[in-house]
């Protein structure tokens, strides 16, 4: 059964077609990677899946619900969780409080005005566990604003994990990472594989081929090829699309 | 009869709108480029009016009085930019609000200290005190016509300055992309100061022209400041063209509201009630205009940022 099923998705900006009758699915427990050159329409696609941009046509079905017109927060409540390409955290909170806030989003009502959050030990136990899973356990008390770039990327992922997701939408998790940090991030995502359905958008081809169960190639708003890493590597159309870009070779 | 009244109110609206434009042009640029909420913009308008009234009296003539007032206000504006405001560009909006509110307090009290608490008398220059017959049966104040002419002239000059010169190019680039403006180097600091001086001179011009029509008194700046902000928001922050269109819209709606809403109300309501509600409804009209515009276009009519 597929966790995410996109069919006939269409989006136009003025006369420009940025999403062109696109079909895409992510199965339960699958890591589906989406690659494509700059300007292929990855960002607009993510925006439509996560709910910050409304498609002109087509359907998005997630976990058995049609969510095409849902606002972003309702999608998140249903278990669609995303990370951002440009780190998007809560800089004035500590690392631990960042994650606790994210957990708060999916554990009971937040219209509570009297009981201090600090007294909710369940919230903080869950937050500590997420920190341990993302390798941030030593940094919990630090202000989030004071972290380094690699740690910011880890926190970005931690926030996405904290909302008990069914599907992770990872928008270039390696963006701007050095070799060492990249390696750590790949290992981290490897550990998440099969626990969640994951749609990974990434430029780092080594990471993509190492992690993905299935790869789809986006060009001018359309999926031009989809299949295993081997199949994509040998696909003539993809080679043509990436002509001059050495990453794929 | 009612056609003539309508024509006269159109001219009044245009005249008031053009003066609002002088205020809003500087405000929108400072806001768009330097990201500064300058509440003290209205104080420069007040200062301009006071200086123009005083210098007209000293020189005995309107034109040199106004010219000197423009120059002096521009200098004060640049001094203000150099001493206080430039240190606020990188601060958050709320710090700017507090600091420029403090400047209003200082400006108002300094004005009281120098000129006293009584409103200043500032008469329409004798040569322009008459009226001109525009159409048979439609005579219109020569001074108000002059205001319209000056307003249109300044608008045209600004259009050329911003559309056709290198400084204008920098200004436009800055309004649409602030990071780029700051990246353009050391000259930008001087550009900001000059820009601020120009904005201050425009304030002074508006103060000098409106002074003889409205009262020259402490507090005059705050009343018009809000109208100028309404214009900026309607037009789109950072857009001079937006400020122009917004100013004319606000000028006309405000003038028509004042002229026609009480008249219209009298047809339905008892006169006492109509007289009470009329001016208020007229004053409300521009706020309704702003909210309607924002519901239609949340970034104003001419958003300068994508």
């Amino acid at each position: 059964m597929s966790m995410l099923e996109i069919s006939g998705l269409k989006k136009l900006f003025g006369g420009l077609v940025v999403t062109d009758n696109l079909d895409l699915s992510v199965a339960e427990g699958e890591l589906h990677a989406l690659i494509g050159p700059n300007g292929a329409g990855k960002t607009t696609l993510i925006a439509q899946i996560s709910g910050s941009l409304a498609p002109d046509d087509g359907r998005i079905v997630f976990a058995g619900h049609e969510i095409t017109r849902w606002p972003a927060y309702r999608r998140a409540q249903l278990g669609l969780s995303r990370s951002f390409q440009i780190t998007s955290i809560f800089p004035s909170f500590t690392v631990l409080d960042n994650v606790a806030l994210a957990i708060q989003a999916r554990s009971g009502s937040s219209f509570r005005f009297w009981q201090p959050v600090k007294a909710e030990s369940a919230l903080y136990e869950a937050a500590l566990e997420i920190l341990a899973r993302t390798g941030l356990d030593a940094l919990g008390e630090n202000p989030a604003a004071a972290l380094g770039h690699g740690e910011h990327r880890q926190l970005e992922l931690a926030l996405a994990l904290a909302t008990q997701p069914k599907l992770l939408l990872l928008d270039e998790p390696m963006a701007g990472l050095g070799a060492e940090d990249s390696q750590r991030m790949v290992e981290l995502i490897e550990r998440l594989k099969s626990q969640y359905a994951i749609l990974l958008v990434e430029h780092d081809m080594d990471a993509v081929f190492r992690l993905a169960d299935r790869i789809s190639v986006l060009m001018s708003g359309r999926i031009i090829a989809s299949g295993s890493g081997e199949a994509i590597r040998s696909n003539a159309e993809v080679k043509l699309a990436y002509l001059g870009e050495e990453e794929i070779a | 009869m009612s056609g003539l009244l309508f024509a006269e109110q159109c001219l009044n609206g245009l005249q008031f709108g053009l003066m609002l434009f002088l205020l809003a042009a500087g405000l929108t640029l400072v806001f768009g480029i330097m990201d500064l909420i300058n509440l003290a913009h209205g104080s420069l308008y007040m200062l301009g009016a006071y200086l123009a009234a005083t210098l007209t009296q000293v020189t005995g003539s309107f034109l040199p009085g106004v010219a000197l007032a423009l120059l002096a206000t521009a200098l004060v504006g640049m001094l203000l930019e150099w001493s206080v405001l430039r240190h606020l560009y990188r601060r958050d909006h709320l710090s700017q609000v507090l600091a420029t509110f403090a400047l209003i307090l200082i400006a108002n009290e300094a004005t009281r200290a120098i000129w006293g608490v009584q409103p200043l008398s500032f008469n329409v220059p004798a040569a322009l005190s008459g009226s001109v017959e525009l159409l048979p049966g439609l005579s219109y104040s020569a001074f108000r016509l002059t205001i319209i002419a000056v307003g249109l002239l300044v608008a045209a000059l600004l259009y050329l300055l911003i559309g056709r010169t290198r400084i204008g190019m920098l200004v436009r680039a800055g309004a649409s992309n602030r990071a780029m403006a700051t990246a353009m180097g050391t000259n930008i600091q001087r550009l900001f100061t000059v820009l601020f001086g120009v904005g201050a001179a425009l304030c002074a011009l508006a103060g000098a022209m409106l002074g003889p029509l409205l009262a020259v008194q402490v507090g005059m700046g705050e009343n018009i400041l809000i109208l100028a902000f309404v214009v900026v928001v309607i037009g789109g922050i950072g857009s001079v063209r937006g400020a122009f269109v917004g100013a004319l819209l606000v000028g006309v709606v405000d003038t028509f509201g004042r002229a026609f809403v009480p008249l219209t109300l009298r047809q339905f309501l008892p006169p006492a009630l109509a007289d009470a509600a009329g001016p208020s409804l007229a004053a409300i009209s521009i706020y309704i205009l702003m909210i309607l515009v924002l519901l239609w276009k949340p970034q104003g009519l001419f958003p300068s940022r994508a």
Binding site: S81, F90, L101, W114, V117 | V84, S95, A99
Partner: protein
């Protein structure tokens, strides 16, 4: 560099000391023959209540409203109109009219918030201002309620067994209400709702994508602040026995906003610190200087440049 997660014990004592001082203040003032200042202290607390309610929006939730005086004025007029229309009936009882003033503030905030909270940044500032100005002009034109002259109250609201007409009694009632309000705000700040508001201030987009219905949280905060401002208005009307449209003019909103920034954005004691500093300066400076507002301006500028986190920020190193 680490941030304290708990609240250190030392800090818990000075609010109690402040409360003790506030409880003894009327006696202390009486000892020195300064009874007049009891009403002044009451005024500070009412403005502090108003500023604290705005601080919930601006400091905690990042919603910069320049129309907060609308709810203040609406609360004041609620009490005044009840007294005018139904004077001498139970409608003038504080038990009825003050909650009603809060309800009016809350309903008005629900309406204005539902529209304005769809905009952001300066557009939010200007639309809150627009609604407040509209209300100002409506009351300006209501001649039957005094129009621009305002309206006097013949007497303060009544409470069974308590004479609110006595300034000292009224002082203690206001003190009790302000203390409760501050307690509630302090709890709220540390509870889930407060964390959500601070999260929204930090990063609204991320809050949405985590699954928070951001608009709802903002609206509830707006309504709470409106109710609290309505109560402050009811108290101010009672203190002065007078209400006027100027209570809801944008300059009033601006002054309260200045109090909040001056006192300390998002700090529990910021509203009190700002209101007290501002009103005390306005009270004291004229005794020494003819053009004291210049000095007030300079002091405010100094705060912007030398105490960027406000007065309450100075005390938390």
């Amino acid at each position: 560099m680490t941030m304290p997660t708990g609240y250190s014990r030392g800090l818990a004592y000075w609010p109690l000391a402040l409360l003790a001082l506030a409880l003894l203040l009327p006696q202390l003032l009486g000892m020195f023959g300064f009874d007049f200042y009891v009403s002044f202290a009451t005024r500070i607390m009412i403005m502090a209540l108003l500023a604290s309610s705005l601080n919930l929006l601006v400091g905690t939730g990042g919603m910069v409203s320049l129309g907060h005086a609308a709810f203040f004025g609406a609360g004041a007029y609620t009490v005044a109109i009840l007294a005018r229309e139904w004077g001498g009936t139970p409608a003038t009882s504080a038990l009825l009219s003050w909650p009603l003033a809060m309800l009016v503030g809350a309903l008005l905030a629900a309406f204005i918030g539902a529209i304005c909270l769809r905009t952001k940044g300066v557009y939010f500032i200007m639309s809150t201002l627009a609604f407040a100005q509209m209300l100002f002009y409506v009351f300006l034109s209501l001649k039957s309620y005094g129009g621009d002259d305002g309206m006097s109250l013949t007497q303060r609201s009544t409470l069974p067994g308590i004479d609110l007409g006595a300034d000292v009694v009224f002082y203690y009632v206001v003190l009790a209400l302000f203390a409760v309000a501050l307690l509630l705000l302090g709890r709220l700040d540390r509870a889930r709702f407060g964390k959500v508001l601070r999260g929204i201030k930090d990063n609204e987009l991320r809050m949405e994508s985590l699954g928070f219905a951001v608009f709802r949280f903002k609206l509830v905060a707006f309504i709470l602040a409106g109710a609290m401002a309505g109560l402050a208005g009811a108290l101010m009307g009672n203190l002065n026995n007078f209400v006027s449209p100027n209570m809801m003019h944008w300059e009033q909103s601006g002054v309260v906003l200045v109090m909040v920034i001056l006192g300390g954005l998002g700090r529990l004691w910021g509203g009190l610190a700002g209101a007290a500093a501002m009103l005390l300066l306005e009270e004291i400076l004229p005794n020494f200087l003819p053009h004291w507002q210049i000095l007030l301006g300079v002091i405010l500028l100094a705060v912007v440049f030398f105490a960027p986190r406000g007065l309450a920020g100075i005390f938390r190193a």
